[in-house]
């Protein structure tokens, strides 16, 4: 077994250190070492997006990032989207809009969509579809996912303050 390397990161706001082998992907360390299994492995070669995490705010396929590359990075995984007991508006809108069926791709979609809304609070449908095109879903046909992102954009209202509102008062179910 090869020598292990020490890596210091911040994951979901918490300073986190781990040891890894040089060949290990960030996804493998997140899942098997740190037990953050919300990020999923659908393909292992960057084509399905189920393992998407934010690396310094940028969505990346964590199966294509070496764990050692995370040194000093700020990482957000799906486990970091909710605050305390409050779901992120994207999570809430995915639930109310039935934007998931089997749910295996959902973490990747949520993280990718968060990256989109963080940078572009009022995306067009085309922009949403473009941004999500690196994430594969085989169950939904994407319709309800796109609508959920549109609803979340409305809930966030461009300033993030709606987060509390969405959590405090669940809206009527969309489609």
């Amino acid at each position: 077994m090869s020598k292990r390397i020490h890596v210091s990161t911040t994951i979901n706001g918490a300073p986190t250190e781990f040891l890894c082998e040089a060949r290990q992907s960030l996804l493998e360390v997140l899942r098997d070492t740190l037990r953050l299994t919300g990020s999923k492995e659908g393909c292992g070669n960057g084509n399905c997006g189920a393992c998407t995490v934010l690396l310094d705010g940028v969505p990346v396929d964590s199966c294509l990032v070496l764990a050692v590359e995370a040194e000093g990075a700020d990482i957000t995984t799906v486990e970091g989207l909710a605050h305390d007991t409050r779901l992120h508006p994207l999570q809430q809108c995915f639930l109310e809009g039935a934007a998931l069926q089997c749910g295996i791709c959902t973490p990747g979609f949520l993280v990718t969509a968060k990256a989109l809304l963080d940078r572009n609070p009022k995306p067009t449908e085309h922009k949403i579809r473009f941004q999500l095109s690196g994430n594969l879903c085989r169950c939904t046909g994407y319709d309800k996912i796109v609508r959920a992102v549109q609803e979340a954009a409305k809930a966030l209202d461009g300033n993030g303050r709606a987060e509390k509102k969405a959590a405090a008062k669940p809206r009527a179910a969309a489609h």
């Binding site: 077994m1 082998e21 060949r23 899942r31 098997d32 037990r35 953050l36 299994t37 919300g38 990020s39 999923k40 492995e41 659908g42 393909c43 292992g44 070669n45 084509n47 399905c48 189920a50 799906v78 486990e79 989207l81 909710a82 779901l87 999570q91 639930l95 809009g97 039935a98 998931l100 069926q101 089997c102 749910g103 295996i104 791709c105 959902t106 973490p107 949520l110 449908e125 949403i128 579809r129 473009f130 999500l132 095109s133 690196g134 994430n135 594969l136 879903c137 085989r138 169950c139 939904t140 046909g141 994407y142 319709d143 309800k144 796109v146 609508r147 669940p170 009527a172 179910a173 489609h175």
Partner: protein, 776 residues
């Protein structure tokens, strides 16, 4: 009939008000005043699934767990002369190695797995190849080691001596005399009689009714065409995964991603020749299946490895393993001939279907034959079907297995018929639509079905009524059918003292069925959907339940929940009678309230008195409902074809489907949308590509091109409700029908856009471009 509509993007507000509940009816059968059914509660497992907490198979980690890996054949067809595992066994960190020699030798025993039977000798050889590898990716040996990297390194040390053989991957080639033979002992089951001589054709099916030859002679128009479809994969995003622990007391526990925990238990126990009761299957959350997670692949292998080393072993496939080693759906050749009178009445039909079985017999030819003419009332028909072995993975079910290939052919010919006769394609279909009393060519006579209502609803959609203008644009329409199945389901449910009810079920939840089943129990008990707590439990904790497949779960497991609800109500009435000191017959129950004279107790209030009246109440039911529930869908597509590249862009899509009754309309719409999009992928892009040695060359999501969000518009849905008389709430099952029509819908749309009839799938840009070039 009631209709739910979802929005076109521009009309979401209007549609939202119309889309909730049973707002629109035409008065023929008005929906009863349900309180739960037809609403859209948040799914019970929702929070787990949006926070990453839900435990899927790959997320499981047990103390002392080892990681396994599987060596797969690099050849499409080869004799395995020897396997030397000694170097791998001696590697540090390797704890077990397994090959087919570790599996019991199984005779040709057939096990019924609910949605299809399986020959256990073939299943065993598919799990670990014996003397021959029959496709690239065929599992040959397995290793368990301290981590995945050591396991993979150990695979490289296993020496397999192969003698490569000639392979065959196109169904018509495999049927030729002189084709490479996969199974020397295979003889064609020729209408029940064994054929003579070597063959790859495992079965010939034949169905006939009326006098097709005479009827063709009397037809004014006869059209006969041939269609070809490529092999496609179910494409679920979660790769197969299983973890096994063979405990020191001999008990085997398997945590797995399966559509059927009980059938996975049965297959595993039979393959290992151990008693059923020695195996517990714990179904983890499952990341898609679409039929592909019914057969076992990893479960018995993980068990063998665990038995050898006494520790839990987890096996996970990578994506290439999934494409190359698990069941795709059959590639096919289909010839369809239809004869009609001038007025559009179809009087005669004939079909020849040859489907890939894959490496072992027993593909999807049966349902292909059943479904090819299933949308129409055709008195004279003949269908011949062939199940053909070739050097591809053993095919598995894929959403209405076998029906999509057949629908592509039949619905394309129907479109040509409409054009030739100068009749509107919906009118022609209405004129011939199957209805109550129609006898399908394979025998069944339909009960009440909703194709006519679905076609009429399609004709009334804003989409169909709109005008499509512009160059290179066209609109297509087609029908799809799936019979849906019943099979066995069990549930038990206990009333908690706070008035909630915990529901234990055996149907693995692949897309929200916990909620659709819980809602039926809630409706029965007169409580809220949120007051039912559904739990999918292991094979020791609930009665036998068949697979999550055949669009059966909301129908059959929902039926079981209904009966468990009635059982609970009967017991609760006894308790109310104790409280009120009256006869049980005097206790009435309606909409969640128990009454006797002027006294009343809500369900919750009475639940609070269970402690004082005898303790907990457990309701239970086990059902095996008769018959099929027969679903139909009609789909409409507007496309634009780029003449320079052959690329088809979908401008607008509508699916109209009879759900019987939509328990949770959002998840019904989701099934319709998801099925339609899988059909779109099948139609336009997806295919297994092979090199000159019959090896798959595109076993990745990059090269096996499934639809992305950017490839699609919103998918408009119209739910038609013609209640199924065989279910208390009218449920028909909705999961599979939506995949059937899209290939024909798109072929018909591409024809309207370009004047070219595409008769081979996928209608990918190079193929459409070539067809356009040939037309010039």
């Amino acid at each position: 009939m009631a209709e739910h509509k979802t929005a076109s993007p521009a009309k979401s507000d209007a549609a939202q008000s119309a889309g909730n509940g049973h707002a629109q009816t035409n008065g023929s059968t008005v929906a009863p005043p349900y309180r739960v059914i037809g609403t859209r509660p948040v799914r019970h497992d929702g929070a787990d699934k949006v926070t990453g907490r839900a435990v899927y198979g790959a997320d499981l980690q047990l103390p002392g767990m080892l990681y396994g890996a599987i060596l797969r054949s690099p050849h499409a067809h080869a004799r395995i002369k020897s396997i030397d595992t000694s170097a791998a066994e001696q590697m540090p960190g390797v704890l077990a190695v397994a090959t087919a020699r570790d599996l019991p030798n199984l005779k040709d025993k057939v096990a019924n797995l609910g949605e299809g039977a399986v020959n256990l000798a073939h299943l065993g050889a598919n799990v670990l190849a014996h003397d021959k590898a029959l496709y690239k990716g065929h599992a040959v040996a397995a290793v368990a080691a301290v981590n995945i990297h050591v396991a993979e390194a150990a695979l490289a040390k296993i020496r397999v001596d192969y003698e490569p053989l000639t392979a065959v991957t196109w169904v018509l080639d495999a049927m030729q005399p002189g084709a490479p033979i996969l199974h020397p002992d295979l003889r064609t089951d020729e209408l029940g009689e064994p054929g003579a001589g070597n063959t790859n054709i495992s079965t010939h099916l034949h169905f006939e009714q009326g006098d097709p030859d005479k009827a063709f002679g009397q037809a004014d128009v006869v059209i006969e065409r041939e269609y070809r479809t490529a092999t496609v994969h179910q494409g679920y995003i979660e790769p197969h995964v299983s973890t096994a622990l063979w405990n020191n007391d001999g008990h085997l526990t398997i945590w797995t991603a399966t559509q059927g925990s009980f059938t996975a238990r049965q297959q595993t126990a039979e393959l290992l020749q151990i008693p059923l009761s020695q195996v517990t299957v714990v179904p983890c959350e499952i990341g898609g299946g679409f039929g592909g997670k019914i057969p076992v692949y990893l479960e018995p292998v993980a068990a063998l490895l665990s038995r050898k080393c006494g520790r839990p072993v987890k096996l996970i496939m990578n994506r290439a393993d999934v494409f190359e080693g698990t069941g795709p759906t059959p590639g096919s050749f289909v010839r369809v001939k239809l004869g009609a009178k001038k007025d559009g009445r179809i009087v005669a039909a004939e079909a020849y279907l040859a489907y890939d079985a894959g490496a072992y017999p027993g593909g999807m030819i049966g349902p292909g034959c059943m479904c090819v003419f299933s949308c129409y009332d055709i008195p004279n028909a003949r269908v011949d079907g062939y199940d053909v072995c070739l050097n591809k993975p053993k095919t598995a079910a894929y959403r209405a297995p076998g029906a999509t290939q057949a629908a592509f052919a039949c619905e394309s010919v129907v479109d040509e018929l409409a054009e030739k006769l100068g009749i509107d394609p919906i009118e022609l279909r209405l004129k011939n639509a199957a209805k109550e009393g129609t006898r399908r060519v394979d025998g069944p006579v339909y009960d009440r079905v909703g194709l006519v209502e679905t076609l009429e609803a399609a004709r009334n959609t804003p989409h169909w009524k709109s005008k499509l203008e512009g160059k290179n644009r066209g609109r297509g329409i087609a029908c799809g059918f799936w019979f849906n199945i019943g099979l066995k389901s069990s549930v038990s449910a206990h009333v908690n003292f706070d008035g909630t009810v915990t529901l234990l079920e055996g149907s693995t939840d692949i897309g929200g069925s916990r909620t659709s089943i819980a809602m039926q129990l809630a409706e029965t008990l007169g409580i809220k959907a949120e007051e039912v707590i559904p739990r999918v439990v292991d094979t020791d904790s609930v009665g036998y339940t068949d697979v999550t497949g055949g669009s059966r779960v909301t129908f059959a497991t929902g039926l079981a929940a209904y009966h468990a609800g009635l059982d609970i109500i009967a017991q609760m009435r006894q308790r109310a009678a104790l409280v009120w000191e009256c006869k049980v017959e005097e206790v009435e129950f309606d909409a969640g309230t128990f009454r006797h004279k002027k006294q009343s107790l809500t369900f919750r209030e009475l639940a609070g008195k269970l402690h004082q009246t005898g303790g907990a109440i457990v309701g239970r039911a086990s059902v095996d409902p008769e018959g099929a529930t027969n679903g139909f869908a009609v789909q409409i597509a507007d496309v634009e074809v780029d003449p320079d590249t052959g690329k088809t862009t979908i401008l607008r899509w509508t699916i109209v489907q009879d759900a019987g009754r939509a328990i949770h309309p959002s998840y019904v719409e989701g099934q319709m949308q998801g099925g339609a999009v899988q059909g779109i992928g099948w139609a336009l892009n997806e295919e297994y590509l092979y090199d000159d040695k019959s090896r798959m060359t595109n076993a990745s999501y990059l090269d096996y091109r499934m639809p992305t969000a950017l490839d699609l518009p919103m998918i408009e849905t119209v739910i038609v409700e013609v209640p199924n008389p065989a279910h208390p709430y009218g449920v028909r099952g909705v999961g599979e029908v939506p995949i059937c029509a899209p290939p024909a819908t798109l072929a018909n749309a591409i024809y309207r856009a370009t004047g070219v009839r595409m008769r081979e799938l996928p209608m990918s840009p190079p193929r459409v471009w070539a067809a356009l070039a040939a037309k010039k």
